[in-house]
Amino acid sequence: MNNNLKIIFGVFCAFILSLTIFSFYMEFYESGVLYNTNWLENFNLTESFNDDQQTINPKHVSIEFLKRIFGG
């Protein structure tokens, strides 16, 4: 394969993987599985792609998550 294509493929994979990790993170946070033993078992990953939902600010989610883990 052409070297440029290999690099572009690498960048594409990096994007897709990080977006996947990010989506899981956001959804797991929403469900409570990341920090709560009584997490919602019926959470739906695809809900985050629902247009009707308000966009969640990732930074706020991370801050909330870190607060729940480390306190403060």
Binding site: K6, I7, G10, A14, L19, I21, F22, N57, L66, G72
Partner: protein, 489 residues
């Protein structure tokens, strides 16, 4: 169009794709020019006309200067170019500031005030104006032959990666890159084919990734701490003020050098080399060393087109000091029409003058053995950076009383345990980021070129690194992207 928005990513991918598809060199260059104009129009709207006007003026004036033998005529043409460029810059940037100063005087004399024009500052005007001035001055000095093509000159002025916040390019650096060399001695006549080479692509993406990381991970997440402290600093203790000052120093460095990294990386992918603008400025061991490392393209521009023509250090000591003061004050006010920037420039000129006086009175200081040891270097870095960071206070804090209060607390220490606990518990993330940034800087200072190490990684590890960086950016991504600080200048 901000670099840190999805629009830019789409725009850049489209540019790369179309440039790769186009086979004819001429079309590639025209497309790059049109793409750059589109980028500017998207960012600045109608102010695109100013950019085009400045381009046309300097292209024809440059040619006229070159082809005339009459020295007087050359001078007049240079004055036309300077007054055109500086006139535009002065009108949009400083007219309202001037009117408000006159209004202060009128107010004291109980006379009616003049209405402000409330002009919007065209983005990038301070950068491309300096770029076009350097072109005509170089031709006037006989150091540069004028560009033979308006398209090429227009691309030099409007090249999108560095258009809105530099680095300030010189024509002698950029124009030869548009042409192929046909022999070892000179420039050829053929336009250069824009080829995306894999080494440039990987290196450029790595550099852009560094830039995005600096801006979106560090600068944007340290900003809330700095804003919180300097919104109303009166009443805060020295720890908060020092932390805010360090935070702002890191924020502005990550913001501006992040922008520069993205610009240099984007240009590199397209096969253009833009000189670096920063070289680890917070490891400078003297004020003059700082200016060799911070905003290099501006400091070298001021040196070549202002300091040296004023006489530089070739005349008396007093004249040298006056030249330094003039250059630094102009460098300060170049950042914006505000007394804050004049104070910032004034402080830096004072540092440089003190350094010059010390090295002149005690020439042995420069060769002092202790200062050349590792410990001596660390001591000089700490002392120099203490004063460099002090100068960031007037740069950041606009209100005069708050600025004086912050400077006082920065210089005369007064700590309060309650304030320290308060500020530390409320800003854990920014503080962790500040510490991480300092650690990364120390690692990179120890001669490990992180950029080279990362861009030479095997593709799978490189992609993994890219994924980690993107994920980290996303995890702390605020939905409202912050402007680059230097876009305002």
């Amino acid at each position: 169009m901000l670099f840190n928005t999805p629009e830019f990513i789409v725009f850049f991918i489209s540019i790369l794709t179309i440039v790769s598809i186009l086979k004819y060199r001429k079309f590639q260059h025209i497309f790059l020019l049109l793409g750059s104009y589109f980028f500017f129009y998207f960012t600045s709207n109608i102010f695109l006309t100013l950019l085009i006007a400045s381009t046309i003026l300097d292209y024809y004036v440059g040619k006229a200067i070159f082809y005339t033998n009459d020295k007087k005529k050359k001078k007049i043409l240079l004055l036309v170019s300077l007054s055109g460029n500086l006139g535009l810059l002065g009108f949009f940037k400083y007219v309202d500031f001037g009117i408000s100063q006159v209004n202060h005087i009128l107010e004291m004399m109980a006379l009616p005030e003049i209405e402000l024009l409330e002009l919007i500052l065209p983005i990038g005007i301070s950068f491309y104006t300096f770029q076009t001035i350097s072109y005509t001055v170089d031709i006037y000095r006989g150091k540069l032959a004028p560009s033979q093509s308006l398209k090429e000159f227009a691309l030099f002025v409007a090249f999108f990666p560095q258009l809105v916040a530099g680095p300030i390019l010189r024509a002698s650096q950029f124009l030869p890159q548009l042409r192929n060399k046909i022999n070892e001695l000179g420039n050829g006549k053929n336009l250069r084919q824009i080829i995306i080479e894999n080494q440039n692509l990987k290196f450029g993406i790595t550099l852009m990734m560094f830039g995005f990381f600096k801006k979106m991970f560090f600068a944007d997440n340290i900003a809330p701490l700095v804003n919180q402290i300097f919104e109303n600093p009166i009443g805060l203790d020295s720890f908060s003020i020092i932390l805010g000052t360090i935070g702002f120093g890191i924020q502005i460095y990550c913001d501006f050098s992040g922008y520069t990294d993205i610009a240099i990386g984007a240009a590199m992918i397209l096969g253009f080399k833009i000189p670096k603008n920063f070289n680890k400025p917070y490891f400078a061991t003297s004020p003059s060393d700082f200016w060799r490392r911070w905003h290099i393209s501006l400091s070298s521009w001021l040196r070549d087109y202002l300091y040296i023509p004023l006489g530089g250090n070739k005349k008396s000591s007093d004249r040298t000091f006056a030249n330094i003061a003039v250059v630094m004050l102009i460098g300060g006010i170049w950042h914006g029409a505000s007394w804050n920037f004049v104070i910032w420039g004034g402080l830096h000129s004072a540092y440089l003058i003190i350094q010059k006086s010390i090295t002149k009175k005690f020439p042995s200081v420069a060769n002092n053995k202790f200062l050349k040891t590792k410990f001596g270097k660390i001591i000089s870095i700490i002392i120099v950076q203490y004063f460099i960071f002090l100068a960031w206070i007037p740069f950041r804090v606009r209100d005069f009383d708050s600025m004086l209060y912050s400077i006082e607390k920065y210089l005369i220490w007064d700590f309060s345990i309650i304030d320290i606990i308060d500020i530390a518990t409320m800003n854990k993330i920014p503080i962790v980021l500040i510490v991480s940034f300092i650690t990364l800087q120390i690692i990179s200072y120890k001669k490990i070129n992180l950029l080279e190490v990362f861009s030479n990684l095997k593709l799978k590890y490189w992609s993994l690194l890219l994924m980690t960086v993107i994920t980290l950016i996303l995890l702390l991504y605020d939905l409202n992207p912050h402007d680059f600080i230097y876009f305002r200048f």
